[in-house]
């Protein structure tokens, strides 16, 4: 139905743009990772594996990588634990209030990331809201130090940010489940809990996978929360990259780490996509 000219006209501009502003930059980043910096702070196009060698040899890099992965894993788990029940409630038990509740869940998503991270900073500080409240009610006697400038603060903040992110795909996949499947299950003698376990949970797995991937990937690569709230013990891999691109001007090394992150993320997305397709039933 659509002529060749039509198809070319609609495809060409986006594809060209994608090539220039997505493909080329990634390729460039890959190239950079093999280059080095001269003493006069210029980029030298000499090809070697030196940067990757540096990454593999110095412990700080893989320590930070592991810490980042561990933080991301906790954020993912917590976000799922918070997001799934809400999605389930909204999808199956919300009556006429479904639209209203849905809007309530995604409003925080639209409120600035920075605003929310900053809000947690004011809450968790030694002079912050939480500490003053606890002391006001005599639940503690001095401010709790670990609340801020720690991995705890980063995990808490990122969970707050990414719970709506896990909610969305889980909700979508739950909505996709025909209502009469739950009825059929009840009809055949299964209670609500059993119906959830045998029918609803298995059918929602693709949504859970998508949400988990989102949460993990985005929190893994986050640099704002650690910078604001992580202190020295909460430094994540992206913070190292930011420093390398800042004053220390070690772009090639930074590019190497970035490219590794890119490769890791793409791998995770690919695995997740395959699994989602395998376990999708509709």
């Amino acid at each position: 139905m659509f002529s060749r000219a039509y198809k070319v006209t609609v495809s060409l501009p986006p594809v060209l743009w994608g090539a220039i502003f997505l493909l080329v930059p990634y390729a460039l980043m890959f190239a950079y990772s093999f280059w080095s910096v001269s003493e006069s702070q210029t980029i030298v196009h000499s090809w070697s594996f030196a940067n990757y060698g540096e990454l593999l040899s110095k412990p700080v890099y893989h320590q930070t990588l592991l810490r980042s992965a561990w933080i991301a894993a906790r954020v993912t788990l917590l976000s799922l634990l918070l997001g799934y029940p809400v999605a389930y409630l909204l999808s199956f038990h919300s009556g006429g209030k479904k639209n209203l509740l849905y809007q309530l869940v995604i409003i925080p998503l639209w409120v600035s990331y920075l605003v929310r991270a900053y809000a947690w900073k004011t809450i968790l500080g030694t002079d912050g809201v939480l500490n003053t409240v606890l002391q006001y009610f005599h639940l503690t006697h001095h401010p709790l130090e670990f609340l801020l400038y720690s991995p705890f603060a980063v995990v808490l903040t990122l969970t707050h940010i990414y719970t709506p992110f896990t909610f969305l795909p889980i909700f979508a996949s739950l909505e996709h489940i025909p209502r009469n499947l739950a009825e059929a299950s009840h009809d055949l003698g299964a209670s609500r809990v059993e119906t959830f376990r045998r029918v609803i949970l298995p059918l929602s797995v693709p949504g859970v996978l998508a949400g988990a991937t989102f949460a993990f990937v985005l929190s893994f690569g986050d640099f704002l929360a650690p910078l604001l709230l992580g202190g020295s013990s909460g430094i994540m891999i992206s913070n190292i990259v930011v420093n390398l691109f800042g004053a220390s001007y070690q772009w090639p090394l930074g590019a190497a780490i970035s490219f590794c992150m890119l490769a890791l993320v793409v791998l995770l997305l690919w695995v997740s996509e395959r699994l989602e397709r395998k376990w999708a039933y509709s």
Partner: protein, 367 residues
């Protein structure tokens, strides 16, 4: 109004004519359902006998699906009670009723195989594995789907899915099986075949079936009794032949098969409707009569007082395979439908007749 079946008689028909009252399985007592401002069911009362094939027949919006869902437990009635085998059914959640449902869209679990779908109920009931295996095998054999045990529902046809849905319900040996328009998604030929299969199956297993449909032919083919539901009220509950030949209301007469509705004035035992007049044994007044097209025939020259004769002009005719439906005009404006097996012979001006007894008085539509 003239003659109309007394309310009491209607109620007696809704109970079990010619049946032992002790074999009532399900008793629906004044069930009413309102959604917000909209009343879907207005106080329905109905008794269902054990081993009976009852069809709830009605057009969309009649409330038939709502009634079924109340029996299954997916809806709560606004008022009224449902009793089964001497105990109250309505307070129980669906998973504690000995009632199973075959859904209109089958609702097979897409992530389970055919076998696992059928085994679902027994597994939930924690029956021993050996028994589950036996029962599943039996159920699949009964619907002739043994070879498909390991398939996923997405890989089998609609008609096959329907049979699996049936097997999945029957394997639990329920006291009552509810079928919510299960054949509506099938094409005409498959549908006819399944109607016969279902009827045979029901006879074999002896379980009470309540079947919901909007297709009056289907209802007539399969049912022991039909409960005709219209705008949330029961118009008539009777065996198919009785609903057909002695419809209680104008709606019943029109919904099932074709009919001619005659608004008549009765005076001195003669009913007059347009250009027609015939003998009745009813008091003076107005009344509505239903006259089936096949009851009108070519005048045969008999002089019997119980035969009503009239002249008419043929307007058009429609071919219906074994018979023709012919539209004729009596006088200036009265139009009747006549069914005749004489293909092509009713043309132009004709003389027609019908037996006065074939004009059945019915309750007209409520004002």
């Amino acid at each position: 109004m003239g003659n109309e079946p007394q309310a009491a008689e209607l109620e007696a028909r809704a109970s079990l004519p010619g049946r032992n009252q002790d074999s009532t399985l399900l008793s629906i007592r004044s069930i009413a359902k309102t959604f917000g401002k909209h009343t879907v069911l207005h106080g329905i009362s109905l008794d269902v006998a054990e081993g009976e094939f009852l069809t709830i027949l009605g057009e969309s919006g009649s409330g038939k699906t709502t009634l079924l869902r109340i029996i299954a437990g997916f809806e709560q009635a606004t008022s009224g009670e449902v009793w089964m085998s001497g105990g109250r059914l309505d307070p129980l959640p669906p998973y504690r009723r000995r009632v199973n449902t075959v859904f209109q869209s089958y609702a097979l679990f897409p992530h389970l195989t055919v076998e696992e779908n059928v085994a679902y109920g027994p597994r939930v009931a924690k029956l021993p594995a050996e028994e589950i295996r036996t029962r599943v095998g039996e159920a699949l054999a009964k619907v002739r789907m043994e070879g498909f045990a390991k398939y996923k529902p997405s890989k089998i046809s609609g008609g096959q899915q329907q049979r699996i849905a049936l097997a999945r319900a029957l394997v639990n040996r329920p006291k009552l099986l509810l079928l919510d328009e299960p054949l509506s998604a099938l094409d005409a030929n498959l549908r006819r075949q399944m109607q016969i299969e279902l009827k045979t199956l029901q006879r074999e297993v002896g379980i009470t079936f309540i079947f919901v449909t909007h297709d009056q032919e289907e209802a007539m083919v399969m049912s022991d009794r039909i409960a005709l539901l219209h705008a949330g009220e029961l118009e008539q509950v009777a065996p198919p032949d009785e609903i057909y030949s002695r419809p209680a209301t104008a709606y019943a007469a029109q919904f099932i098969g074709h009919t001619n509705l005659l608004e008549a004035e009765i005076r001195n035992s003669v009913a007059r409707a347009g250009g027609l007049s015939w003998m009745v044994q009813l008091p003076d007044g107005r009344a509505t009569f239903s006259l089936r097209p096949e009851c009108i025939r070519r005048a045969q020259g008999s002089d019997a007082v119980s035969v009503a004769r009239f002249r008419a002009r043929v307007l058009d005719h429609a071919f219906h395979g074994a018979s023709e439906l012919v539209r004729v005009q009596v006088g200036d404006s009265q139009i009747l439908t006549v069914r005749t097996a004489d293909r092509g012979r009713l043309r132009g001006d004709v003389e027609l007749e019908f037996d006065a007894g074939d004009a059945v008085p019915v309750r007209g539509p409520k004002e």
